[in-house]
Symmetry: C2
Subunit: 505 residues, 2 copies
């Protein structure tokens, strides 16, 4: 731990903006196969501040996704409140989360992520604030027990929404056809921007390095805040382990703590995040402070690169790449490293660290050469490993500069036409496909993918962009149960940045 | 409503004493037919301030019944807390309350009375205080969801116990054979003495007139507090309805409010409570203030008494008598009224209200004569109504002074020997049997009943005296499910008063 960095992180005061929001409507939850994953929300009436619950379940729709604190006034009519009122609240980012039933839990993550509360109110009338922060658009209320003759009235149901980004939405894209994507991107970013850049405000709320890099890019295009980025980068730098490894994720509370997970790909992306920050802010002093931490990740990485430029798969090293267990990882890891070495080279050069700049470029070239020599299948016109072709590997070689733009465009075309090329499963990797199209000037393809992937999510009801999305597999989940997925996830909010950078430049 | 009385009640500041108590032991809950209603508590180890929960349920035994607020420190070992911890707490006054299962709910009271909480703790370590006040000796903790590899540590588990009576227990009986009954009686009173005299701190927490009369008697023998009694009597007087009826019960919070229940027997007992207060405190001024309210209840009652001294059963009037639906009520009501008229007569005389004193005595005699003429079965030697003989009716005629002490003793003997005499089902009525024995000087019988009823409750595991108890019917409940019964109930705590007044005088 580096206490100076942690202290500096602690000294950056993040003000959370607040907004009080009432529900837009009172609804019922409808189970029907026409809806995405079988669950939909049907408006009963607009919310008008006062609602009588007739002993039945009810659902409030807040009109859009928020992160915040739910409160309401509760009173009884017809009869005195002679016994406590027992209520259950279930929160959902997307309607199909309401399909969750206790006991039916095939997923491998803790079901404590399901956002719900069971409360007792002893005395009516009462003003109640539920005890935690929730990420949701919909909230279902069930009356579990009460004086049966008494009917309950909910009044002034509201969420105190919080975000470090604030609630003044301004569209940043120029063209109308992107307006919905702009709105959903910005809402996703807004709801993930809390006292750190959370990866998902429902789950898992940690600060992840791969995610913050993407969030910060979107932030530079929209909110233009630098404090939260600085705080987060200080936290990562401050929480390196005794070997100097930047953690892949960290906890801010109760005290900053690394998440005990170290991933090669994420650790190298620290340099990318630093470079992006520099490009936006011009703050050389801050980059100087964190450069050694960022570059040390590469020095560690160099040790697992062979003379031929091949990453040696070995016990005890982990990288994320994507939520795809069948994808061989060494080649993908090499590609990402080569991509990140560009930032290391440029950052070092900018700071006058010529030796390191040269070293970075040397390794980048070594990796690129190794890949082209040993892993490029000239017949298929793509990189492959163990006979497996993936978008994942190829796009990072393009971004790394291993191939010319012409070669890159041919690779992209070959991938598009390939029946075997493994598709990514997370918006995180789709971002880098988009970036590749962008770098290669393939605007048409880029816009098609934007529409096919993020646009499709919106068609499926996304109000904020999702953690995981596989077209044609609505139940896909990295955790074996889609109700555990986060439906407002940092790494998915990049379309707005991509549009501004490549489609409207 | 009489706002002057309510204001005076509000001006009496009741200080709640507090005591911090740790559990005595860490236990498991055992289901076995040897235990009362099939549930027992088995000590695993003494509580030593730090306990590791190995992914299983655990139970803390606080050694005795308390009313208060549960808190603890929670932390994790072996693994980082990467997801919220979801815990369920179930509180029990007696072990068999743990038999309750959601969905298996045959009772007719709201199951919101079952004391439990399900909470989520997002961040560890945490100091947690559960949100409500609970009445319990045992608390079961279930881990519903968490990071499976992390084990949880509970530390500093404690209850902040509260009572207006305080926690300095002093035995008041002289003889050792009464010591356990003294302890359980005083604990029952202590835990019911909160900001009002609650009938039961688990359920239903209201202030009931029949109950407070008995609690106050015990208080005069033990705690000797007068403020709480005054506050409660002011509340009843302040919450009369537009016809001047004293309510049978009331709510103190959020603002004092009558319980919308009016019972003739309870309303007349207001005078008994006033008289008892006078005898203890000598505070004539207070009694003067409330006399009219108390006497008005009799004036209303006189209207349903026939010239023959018979209470006219009629639509729309209610009395409690006992939790026994098959007991005919008019004769019992007449007996209770005649009993209460003694207090009305004496209180009026003490305050120089001769006309009312005479009127009260006139009605008392009228009722007694009517009962003896129309309802005394000379063959059986007991009062009966519609062919039904009950202890309930007979004891109140004895207490009313309808018969001489010799006649009274014969009646008691006849009841004892009768196979048909209906027994009471609540300690509330058993109190008045005891009082009858006491008045009649039948010490031996009184002590036998003390042992057979309250002593038997203790043998069955009572730590505080119960709301309802029927020897040989452990599942008896006025609410059709014994888990809804209150196991710490005001009206059951009188043995200590009875012992002091009749057995150790």
């Amino acid at each position: 731990m580096n206490n100076i960095f942690l202290e500096k992180a602690g000294n950056i005061d993040i003000k959370l903006h607040e907004k009080i929001v009432n529900p837009k409507s009172v609804c019922s939850i409808v189970e029907h196969e026409d809806y995405y994953n079988g669950y939909g929300i049907k408006e009963i009436e607009p919310y008008c501040g006062r609602n009588v619950l007739l002993n039945g379940d009810i659902c409030f729709d807040f009109g859009e996704h928020y992160v915040g604190y739910l409160s309401f006034k509760l009173s009884g009519i017809d009869e005195v409140c002679d016994s406590p009122v027992k209520l259950k609240f279930a929160f959902a980012e997307v309607p199909f989360e309401f399909s969750h039933k206790d006991g039916n839990e095939p997923g491998w993550l803790s079901y404590s992520w399901i956002q719900e509360e069971t409360i007792f109110v002893d005395i009516l009338p009462a003003e109640v604030t539920l005890p935690r922060r929730y990420a949701f658009r919909y909230v279902k209320v069930e009356i579990l027990a009460k004086n049966k003759r008494m009917r309950l009235i909910f009044e002034d149901v509201k969420v105190k929404a919080v975000s470090a980004a604030g609630f003044d939405y301004k569209r940043v894209v120029k063209e109308d056809r992107f307006s919905k994507i702009d709105e959903v991107s910005q809402r996703t970013l807004r709801d993930c921007m809390q006292t750190v850049y959370e990866d998902g405000p429902k789950r898992d709320r940690r600060l992840w390095l791969g995610d913050i890099r993407l969030q910060a890019l979107v932030n530079y295009s929209t909110v233009k805040d630098i404090n939260l980025v600085k705080k987060c980068l200080y936290l990562f730098a401050g929480l390196c382990d005794e070997e100097g490894r930047v953690p892949a994720c960290l906890y801010e509370k109760p005290d900053p703590m690394n998440g005990e997970i170290f991933l090669y790909d994420y650790s190298l992306l620290f340099m990318a995040a630093l470079w992006d920050y520099y490009k936006f802010s011009g703050d050389k002093e801050f980059c100087e402070e964190l450069f050694d931490v960022a570059y040390h990740q590469f020095e560690r990485f160099y040790q697992i690169v062979s003379k031929e430029g091949i990453v040696l798969d070995q016990e005890g090293w982990w990288c994320f790449i994507d939520w795809d267990d069948e994808l061989p990882k060494p080649l993908a890891m090499a590609a990402i490293a080569a991509y990140c070495l560009n930032f290391a080279r440029d950052m070092a050069a900018e700071l006058g660290k010529d030796a390191q700049s040269k070293e970075a470029e040397k390794y980048r070239l070594l990796l690129c050469d190794g890949a082209k020599k040993y892993y490029f299948n000239s017949e298929k016109g793509v990189f492959e490993e163990n006979g497996i072709v993936s978008w994942n590997v190829n796009i990072f070689w393009i971004l790394a500069g291993a191939v010319t733009h012409d070669e890159g465009r041919r690779i992209m075309k070959n991938l598009e036409e390939s029946a075997e090329a493994r598709l990514p499963v997370t918006p995180y990797v789709y971002h880098y496909i988009m970036e590749s199209y962008g770098v290669l000037g393939m605007k048409e393809e880029m816009e098609k993918l934007l529409s096919d992937y993020w646009g499709e999510m919106i068609s499926c009801g996304a109000d904020t962009f999702w953690e995981a999305f596989k077209k044609g597999d609505s139940k896909f989940s990295p955790y074996d149960d889609c109700v555990l997925n986060s439906a407002c996830h940092a790494w998915s909010c990049t379309p707005i940045y991509l549009i501004k950078k490549y489609l409207e430049e």
